[in-house]
């Protein structure tokens, strides 16, 4: 089936540094999402993105977070600066329409030291 790729699979950085998580969504999909999952907790919605704009974001999407998809390339989540509480697995998802099935990537495990 359609696959969403995420790069890298693991990332370890020092607190205060910037990190960019990359997502290669399904090719014909138009809606893109980021979710955050802390170990042992539920996956929580961060943000969704359509037509070059953030459509909806949760309170977890702090000012230090930003998303973009320049020229149809990777859909990225940038955190600048990172904090210890940003350590989690970040899942990217994409769908062809709103309320349509979301296809998830395998996640990027981010560790902030």
């Amino acid at each position: 089936g359609p696959k969403v790729l995420q790069i890298p699979s693991h990332q370890i950085i020092d607190m205060g540094q910037m990190v960019t998580l990359n997502c290669d969504p399904v090719s014909n999909h138009l809606y893109f999402y980021w979710y955050k999952q802390i170990l042992g907790q539920q996956m929580e919605f961060l943000v969704n993105f359509y037509n070059g704009k953030v459509m909806e974001k949760s309170k977890l999407f702090k000012d230090q977070f930003s998303v973009e998809r320049p020229d149809g390339s990777y859909f990225t989540l940038k955190i600048q600066p990172t904090a210890l509480e940003d350590s989690a697995v970040y899942f990217c998802a994409s769908s062809w329409g709103d309320y349509a099935e979301q296809f998830f990537g395998p996640g990027t495990r981010l560790t902030v030291l």
């Binding site: 907790q41 919605f45 969704n48």
Partner: protein, 112 residues
């Protein structure tokens, strides 16, 4: 406030038994409930879903039972197989919501 709750946290059944995974939700505006299956190292994948206008949805060995009044649903996996061993997430969404609220998941182990 946790919008979606799942129980049990983990479940072990023998091959051939029926596994029952439970889910409840808070927001009566939710009307779409997908269940996702996740294997280690992979992202969640849609397994089966139900709309609140239905009280039952079947797809092969997987059945969702939905009780709108009690805001509860359950996923029944009949004739469980070792390959069904995974974590199952219940999620909820609704009109006006473009995102899903996920439960914490149930880790299912099927013993041969």
């Amino acid at each position: 406030q946790q919008q979606v709750r799942q129980s049990p946290q983990s479940l072990t059944v023998w091959e051939g038994e029926t596994a029952i995974l439970n889910c409840s939700y808070e927001n009566s505006a939710f009307d779409y409930f997908p269940w996702y299956q996740q294997f280690p190292g992979e992202g969640p994948a849609l397994l089966i879903s139900i709309l609140s206008v239905s009280n039952k949805k079947e797809d092969g060995r997987f059945t969702i039972f939905f009780n709108k009044r009690e805001k509860k649903l359950s996923l029944h996996i009949a004739d469980s197989q070792p390959g069904d061993s995974a974590t199952y997430f219940c999620a909820a969404s609704g009109t006006g919501y473009q995102n899903f609220y996920f439960g914490k998941g149930t880790s299912l182990t099927v013993i041969p």
